[in-house]
């Protein structure tokens, strides 16, 4: 182990590590470019490299991407990569309040702690990890995913039916395309474009980023209105130390989820965010700039790597796109991932762990140094930043499939996102549904095929997880029920726009009904999941409509009534935004440049 450290620091390997880490920061900062994209840039150059240098560089890259992406998420409200989507939720509102430096330093520090924790866990569990992974069969994975779904209850905000409806919406939308169990195409309206399902990043950008851009253009000032960034850096460090339990718990969950093949990556941040909100006593500031939201997510997404390396190295089974590339990289330099990583290649394994630890420290260190300069971005009036941001989100969207039609998708989901934000439908709940749908459906159906109910319920880990989930649901629902109603005058004012508030739940109800009708002719295994999700959604919508009809306070919500008044009108802003994105779609692909996504 010590020798591995000497190999790493005593040779040129450390230089490669730094190169990988620096490149990763750049990749992390660029919206939507994550570990997989960065690594694919590096891989062509590792042929013939010394294995220790190659691995130092590759791990340096993978470990640091999730530190760099914090910057974009916090400062501009655009996820820097798929695993920092949830950082936007509280990080960006903090930047708007002039606490960018605080959010960043809290994010970086939790990142580095999470990353080191991941490396530590990896070291400690490596010997017994093989056994642990074998304990986690398909039923256990199913329970872990349900654990994630259960957090919707806590994320629902004022109204539980709204949370359920919008989560079901996420699930039905995500089940468009190939049905894993029956191999049918479903809900694709006969369009080949929808055959692969809707791209996650486009939906995230639509639902989370577009409403923020609309809001900021309407406000017509800089992201942060504070003249100075203050001494937030120190405050951020104090925040992390004060919330050390959140850091520890999130990092643990990050490792665990990361170690589960096929679940990791883009899911962890949402699970952890849900858990952080659920466990907090005062939930009122989440989504409006609670530093705990940033701390939780950032400690988990760097810890993921420590967990994800376990199945990658020991079984040769990657949990995500970036670990799949790591696997290719290992094979390219002549290392066979597998149990041999613990015997003949143990030195390389330790070198990778040291690289993981060192890259986390280097990455966070570099970010601390540069962030004060970058944080000044938030002082620029938003009208100046918006055009760049629109280009950035368009770029991020096109990055996935290079398909200009995806630009229309972000506008569509942007419109839905604006409505969700205004009428109190939880956007994280939507994304949890969207992200978990595929794994949930697959593992549900696989469990049902392979295990009888008695088999399923006699597995100890399943029972423990089941108890935890029921406990969580119980407490969340109890908290929902006992919530006190806010002041009656405001309720009366919100009640006046009831007609508008009916629109979104009514549209959702139509959507669910249409989806139910469309899947009715599929094979049972293909339609079961969308039918259950759609049924929940339709029921929840009916409840909301009923409550709105009766004027029940819990269902009433309209941020146009309660929120601040803006100088620029909504329709004016929306028209500009739509025009900008559409012009990118129409003119951004000149015949010459078309070769960039279609071979000429």
């Amino acid at each position: 182990m010590i020798e591995a450290f000497q190999t790493l620091t005593g040779t040129s390997a450390v230089l490669y590590l730094m190169f990988g880490a620096l490149l990763a920061l750049v990749v992390g900062i660029l919206p939507a470019l994550g570990g997989a994209a960065g690594l694919s840039l590096l891989i062509p150059f590792i042929y013939g490299m010394d294995p220790s240098a190659a691995m130092a560089m590759v791990i340096g890259m993978l470990a640091t991407v999730n530190t760099g992406d914090t910057i974009t998420s916090v400062l501009l409200g655009v996820p820097g990569s798929a695993s920092s989507q949830a950082t936007v939720l509280d990080g960006f509102p903090m930047a708007k309040k002039g606490q960018a430096a605080r959010a960043l330093s809290a994010g970086f520090l939790s990142s580095v702690i999470g990353g080191l924790f991941g490396a530590l866990v990896l070291t400690m569990t490596l010997q017994s990890a093989k056994q642990v992974i074998l304990w986690f069969g398909i039923p256990e994975i199913l329970m872990m995913i349900l654990f994630g779904v259960a957090s919707v209850a806590a994320l629902s905000g004022k109204s539980l039916p709204k949370g359920v409806a919008i989560c079901a919406f996420g699930m039905v939308v995500a089940s468009v395309g190939f049905a894993p169990a029956s191999g049918e195409q479903r809900l694709d309206l006969g369009l080949f474009y929808l055959g692969d399902g809707l791209p996650l990043i486009a939906c995230v950008i639509g639902v989370f980023v577009i409403p923020e851009i609309v809001d900021l253009i309407q406000q017509n000032r800089s992201i942060s209105d504070r003249p100075s960034l203050g001494n937030g850096t120190r405050q951020g460090v104090i925040d992390v130390l004060r919330n050390k339990w959140i850091v520890l718990r999130s990092a643990t969950v990050g490792c665990l989820v990361g170690a589960m093949p096929g679940v990791g990556g883009a899911v962890v941040d949402w699970i952890v965010y849900g858990q952080t909100v659920r466990s907090a006593k005062d939930k009122s500031q989440f989504g409006k700039g609670d530093v705990r939201g940033v701390i939780g997510v950032e400690s988990s997404n760097n810890a993921v790597m420590g967990g994800a390396l376990v199945p990658t190295l020991l079984f040769g089974v990657p949990g995500s796109g970036s670990t799949a590339l790591l696997l290719s990289a290992l094979i390219l330099i002549g290392i066979q991932p597998g149990p041999g990583m613990l015997t003949q290649d143990i030195d390389l394994t330790y070198l990778m762990i040291w690289s993981l630890a060192l890259a986390n420290i280097l990455g966070a260190g570099a970010c601390f140094l540069f962030s004060r300069h970058l944080a000044k971005l938030t002082l620029i009036p938003f009208a100046w930043i918006a055009p760049f941001l629109i280009v950035a989100i368009s770029f991020a969207t096109l990055q996935i499939n290079r398909d200009p039609r995806d630009l229309f998708l972000i506008l569509l989901f942007g419109a839905i996102g604006v409505a969700m934000r205004r009428f109190g439908f939880s956007r994280p709940a939507f994304l949890i549904g969207f992200v978990l749908q595929q794994n949930l459906e697959k593992s549900l159906y696989q469990t049902a095929q392979l295990y009888s109910l008695t088999d399923f319920l006699s597995r100890p880990i399943v029972l423990i997880l089941l108890a935890v989930i029921l406990l969580i649901l119980g407490t969340s629902i109890k908290q929902q029920m006992t919530k006190t109603v806010d002041n009656p005058e405001e309720i009366d004012r919100i009640r006046q726009t009831r007609a508008t508030q009916l629109v979104l739940p009514a549209l959702l109800a139509v959507f669910f009904a249409a989806a139910l009708w469309m899947v009715k002719d599929l094979q049972p295994l293909g339609r079961m999941f969308p039918m259950v999700a759609g049924g929940f959604g339709l029921t929840a919508c009916a409840v909301i409509l009923l409550q709105l009809g009766r004027g029940a306070p819990s269902a009433l919500e309209d941020s146009h009534v309660t929120g601040p008044r803006y100088s620029v009108s909504f329709w004016h802003t929306a028209a500009w935004l739509i025009a900008a994105v559409l012009s990118i779609a129409c003119f951004g692909f000149s015949p010459e440049r078309r070769s960039s996504w279609r071979p000429s």
Binding site: F19, L39, S40, G183, D196, G316, L325, I331, L332, P599
Partner: protein, 357 residues
């Protein structure tokens, strides 16, 4: 020194290509289209080949790898067939999943195989292994596992994974298939005891199944074999002692596999194994361009450094270019309507999957 190379290479990767002209093709840039995301098998192959291929051309053109994922690779392959330039500046990485989709008659495919010329083919055969719990005791011991209920976990019904279900079904077993697993998920499930039948390609087999076999937790049953340029299914050169499915079928049933079932099996095998990994040019490319590529690939294939670096990912298979590659390409035939109908019925009955078309 090395770092300098890396930094330079990094700069190239980030878009600043160094201007150079080739005498071979008169090009200084070649676009390599990978119709899948980063990190998959085709992507790995192209990125492995690219630096050697570039050197094999006289003036070392920059090879730009471009991933165009989505739609199982079909939209990118369709676009390539329509728009690729014929001067050699465009090549495409083809993969078994696109071929299988074509063999099964996916309506989205708008190209025919004649529209491409292969310049490089790397075959990749599967090995089938079962759990000792099935009653099998050694390689080829179909008799010992008679009556066993087999459980297999695969990715998609319309992928090469179906060959496992088809083969064992034809051998007379009940195969329960569970779908929607991640890459490698079937093997972990096998280790956990959730599945008792699995297959892996040679490279993955050596890496992660061989240890299980050594520990007595898995028994190698048979190989898919590979198709020789002559068109015949022969034993896998990496495993000369492991019988092929075709051999075992004859042993079990007393007569060789024939009729529509054979045709369907052969069509799927040629699509999944033989041309599993191929690099193709549009067939509009002139013979000179195809020859230049063939000569370049000959150099790549003969390069001991390339073979050494890719021994583990490509397995020990013969790599083909030129005439041989074109001959292998010819073995990928369309199924007759009878064979397609047979396969469609089989799919519907055994897998509950509706074949397109």
């Amino acid at each position: 020194m090395k770092l300098k190379t890396i930094l330079l290479a990094g700069a190239v990767a980030l878009g600043t290509s160094l201007p150079a002209a080739t005498q071979d093709l008169g090009l200084n840039r070649i676009n390599a289209t990978v119709p899948f995301g980063e990190g998959g098998g085709s992507d790995t192959l192209v990125r492995a080949v690219a630096p050697y291929l570039s050197q094999a051309f006289e003036n070392e053109p920059t090879i730009l790898v471009r991933n165009e994922p989505g739609g199982g690779g079909i939209p990118a392959a369709n676009r390539f067939s329509k728009r690729a330039s014929s001067d050699g500046s465009d090549f495409l990485a083809m993969s078994s999943s696109i071929f299988i989709a074509r063999t099964l008659g996916a309506p989205q495919i708008s190209f025919t195989l004649d529209e491409f010329v292969p310049v490089f083919i790397a075959p990749m055969g599967p090995l089938y292994y079962v759990s000792p719990a099935t009653g099998a005791t050694e390689t080829g011991d179909i008799e010992g596992m008679k009556g066993a209920d087999l459980v297999f976990g695969g990715g998609r019904q319309d992928s090469a994974d179906i060959l496992t279900v088809l083969s064992f079904d034809l051998l007379g077993f009940d195969v329960k298939s569970v779908w929607g697993l991640e890459r490698g998920g079937g093997r972990i499930g096998f280790e956990r005891g959730e599945f008792n039948l699995d297959h892996q390609t040679t490279a993955a087999y050596m890496r992660s199944v061989q240890p299980l076999v050594d520990e007595g937790k898995a028994i190698t049953m048979m190989a898919g074999g590979v198709i020789a340029p002559s068109g015949e299914i022969v034993r896998d050169p990496n495993f000369p002692d492991v019988p092929t499915f075709i051999e075992l079928y004859e042993e079990v049933h007393g007569e060789p596999l024939s009729g529509p079932a054979y045709e369907a099996y052969y069509a799927l095998t040629s699509a999944a194994i033989t041309v599993g990994k191929a690099i193709v040019l549009p067939s509009t490319a002139s013979p000179e361009v195809v020859d230049a590529y063939s000569r370049a690939f000959e150099k790549v294939i003969a390069d001991p450094e390339f073979r050494a670096a890719n021994e583990k990912s490509l397995g020990g298979y013969d790599l083909y270019t030129g005439e041989d590659a074109r001959a292998l390409w010819g073995t990928v035939a369309d199924m007759s309507p009878e064979a397609h109908a047979w396969l469609a019925d089989w799919y519907a009955e055994k897998v509950g999957f509706k074949l397109p078309g």
